[in-house]
């Protein structure tokens, strides 16, 4: 309930910011009677009203539930660990995006396969390496060769000359 309340407050703030951002959209004579800012402003108002409703709903729910009983520390730390573990997948994706222009697609995607599998509980083994190598080869053949997608080549062309 507290999480919902905090989210609702953040959404309300976002609605206000969105309204001002919509108000700052340049006016154009081609925009018609409503203009490019018409619907965004309407949406900002709708979000403001709905998030205010959610704030009220959360407060009422908290009141009805009585004094807040803090969750068991073990369960709470378990939840945090779960979310952090989930966020780790995004971190892996972000690292992939940072390295792919330098290392090139084939190596990066191979490393991505290896890391994601390791991260999710697979022990390092020859089978895992084979999976990453074959997987990278498969993706390379499918996207670069078959579908002709110009995926980043990295430093390899410069190395080969």
């Amino acid at each position: 309930m507290r999480g919902t309340l905090i989210t609702a407050i953040l959404l309300f703030i976002f609605a206000v910011v969105f309204w001002f951002a919509a108000d700052a959209i340049p006016k154009s004579q081609l925009g018609g009677t409503v203009g490019a800012d018409g619907l965004p402003k309407l949406l900002a108002i709708a979000l403001g009203v709905l998030s205010a409703g959610l704030i009220v709903q959360s407060l009422l729910a908290m009141k009805a539930a009585g004094p807040a009983v803090p969750a068991e520390p073990k369960r709470r730390s378990g939840n945090i660990a779960r979310h952090l573990w989930a966020a780790g997948m995004i971190a892996i994706g972000a690292v992939y995006l940072i390295v792919v222009p330098y290392l090139g697609y084939m190596l990066s995607v191979g490393l991505l396969l290896l890391t994601v599998a390791l991260y999710n509980g697979k022990r390092p083994s020859f089978g895992l390496l084979l999976f990453a190598a074959l997987g990278a080869g498969f993706f390379y053949l499918m996207f670069v060769r078959l579908l002709d997608v110009p995926l980043p080549a990295g430093f390899w062309p410069a190395l080969v000359g």
Binding site: G93, V109, A117, Y119, N120, F139, F143
Partner: protein
């Protein structure tokens, strides 16, 4: 007759046949993998449809949906883990049959029931869609705007106990749709000077982030996969039911067909509701209700027939009004929009070859599901037994490669990561995904009709109340929200009434 000619032309065209075959194959494999829902299987293919001809692209996506409904029953029967939500009802008697050494029989019932259901749903789709679409020809811009609002309201109101969250998700989806260059005035909105945002945020990126990436995050956060954990899929050889058996099970199939037809056409109801309702009704009307839960054949064929009927009838509101009622049909709508096609009444006159070609493609897909279903069981069992980390890594690899292939932009991948975070946070906080996706795909339609409507009255919003259809639809939207709000308030009060005596 013209429609039949288009359908025949599609069915006899090699690319469409290949798309139906590939889609069904991908759908069965995707559906068989627990954690890969039909919508995720479809979303993963979406980037590949860019370079395909429109008809091939939509047939491919629709065939995935058809295949996934059968695929979901394979792990439901063999390992008691439904591959898709709609296969959950099949788990009860399918797994019981497997334990009795009749797993192959259960798979056969699922396959035949699914094929019958799919073909029955297709008949309804072809007969209902055009007449409903003709009704939609009466729609004016205010009515279209109201239709979009009604669509989002209905979906948001179905968010069990979270009406406000559903509506907020819908508004957020529409907000994302406003990013980019305004199509009417050419003014850029919310781009912060970044040229990557000038064309807006493509809904594919949000769909992949919300569905595929957030699912990977959830699975990563769940209990750890242990080395050596082997899936107990066992062995099973598909055994098709005889005609005599099918005749004996006709009542259960009829129930599946009827409930699947009704539930499919109702936005938000979907295959899982249809499957569970059919299971219950099949038990109620069965001559051997005591067998349910202990390996009843009727308990397998009724839900499997129902969820395959839904895979066809769920397309009725999408094709008639351009309003999708489920995650999968929202992605299919995305497949149409990518190729500049707007599902709705005009599609029947402007692109009849697409609509009737899709019907032909779906017919082929259902037949192919039957044929491929007989031979693909072995690979499916092999796939289900693969370690989960390999599967997750392969999906991640497919997402990053597929997204890059759309616009050759790494910026798009950052958006997918951001959408993944949003999707995960929404799941944790109980915000439903579908209203956001619906707001996103309908955003342009809603805004363009909103502005067109206001041009008629020089900016006066009374136009939405002057148009009878618009007034009717907006009243329906208000009623849907009002009824859900009342129901939610009642649900809130209930625990308090129970709690008071306990407190005393």
């Amino acid at each position: 007759m013209e429609g039949l000619s288009y359908a025949w032309h599609a069915v006899s065209s090699m690319p469409v046949l290949a798309a139906a075959c590939g889609g069904v194959l991908w759908g069965i494999l995707g559906g068989a993998l627990p954690g890969v829902s039909p919508s995720i299987a479809m979303a993963l293919l979406l980037p590949f449809t860019y370079s395909l001809p429109p008809l091939v692209a939509v047939v491919l996506l629709a065939s995935v949906y058809v295949g996934a409904e059968y695929g979901g029953s394979i792990p439901a029967i063999l390992i008691r883990t439904p591959g898709t939500n709609s296969a959950a009802a099949t788990t009860i008697d399918g797994y019981a049959m497997h334990l009795q050494g009749r797993g192959g029989e259960a798979l056969g019932l699922s396959l035949v029931g699914g094929t019958i259901g799919g073909l029955f749903g297709l008949i309804l789709l072809t007969t209902l869609t055009e007449s409903l679409a003709n009704l939609a020809l009466l729609f004016t811009p205010p009515a279209y705007f109201a239709m979009g609002i009604l669509g989002i309201s209905v979906i948001a109101s179905l968010s069990e106990g979270a009406l406000l969250k559903g509506l907020i998700a819908g508004v957020l989806g529409m907000m994302i749709a406003t990013v980019g260059t305004d199509p009417i005035s050419g003014v850029s909105r919310f781009t912060f000077g970044d040229p990557n945002l000038l064309e807006g945020i493509h809904f594919i990126l949000i769909m992949l982030g919300i569905f595929a990436l957030s699912e990977l995050m959830v699975q990563a956060g769940e209990s750890r996969w242990r080395e050596g954990a082997v899936s107990e899929a066992g062995k099973a050889t598909l055994k098709l039911p005889s005609l005599k058996t099918l005749w004996r099970l006709r009542r259960a199939q009829g129930i599946g067909c009827a409930l699947g037809a009704v539930e499919g056409a109702i936005p938000g109801a979907g295959g899982s509701v249809a499957a569970f309702l059919s299971y219950n009704e099949a038990r109620r009307w069965s001559k051997e209700p005591e067998k349910f839960g202990h390996g009843s054949e009727e308990g397998v064929i009724a839900p499997e027939t129902a969820n395959n009927v839904v895979s066809a009838t769920a397309l009725v509101p999408t094709l008639s009004f351009g309003i999708p009622g489920s995650n999968s049909t929202a992605i299919l709508l995305g497949g149409f929009l990518i190729h500049g096609l707007q599902p709705g009444p005009l599609l029947f006159t402007s692109n009849p070859e697409i609509v009737y070609g899709l019907f032909g493609g779906l017919f082929t897909a259902n037949l192919l599901m039957f044929l491929l279903g007989m031979v693909i069981l072995g690979p499916c069992i092999w796939l289900v037994k693969r370690p989960k980390p390999y599967l997750m890594a392969a999906i991640f690899g497919l997402v990053v490669s597929g997204v890059y292939s759309i616009d050759h932009s790494l910026f798009d991948l950052w958006i997918v990561l951001a959408a993944g975070i949003v999707g995960y946070v929404m799941r944790v906080l109980g915000f439903p995904h579908l209203p956001l996706i619906l707001g996103l795909v309908l955003g342009y339609m809603i805004e363009s009709n909103y502005r067109r409507a206001l041009l008629m009255t020089n900016g006066d919003h009374i136009v939405f109340l002057q148009d009878n259809v618009s007034l009717g639809l907006l009243t329906c939207a208000a009623l849907v929200i009002g009824v859900s709000a009342v129901r939610e308030i009642r649900r809130w009060r209930k625990p308090l009434v129970i709690a008071l005596p306990q407190a005393q």
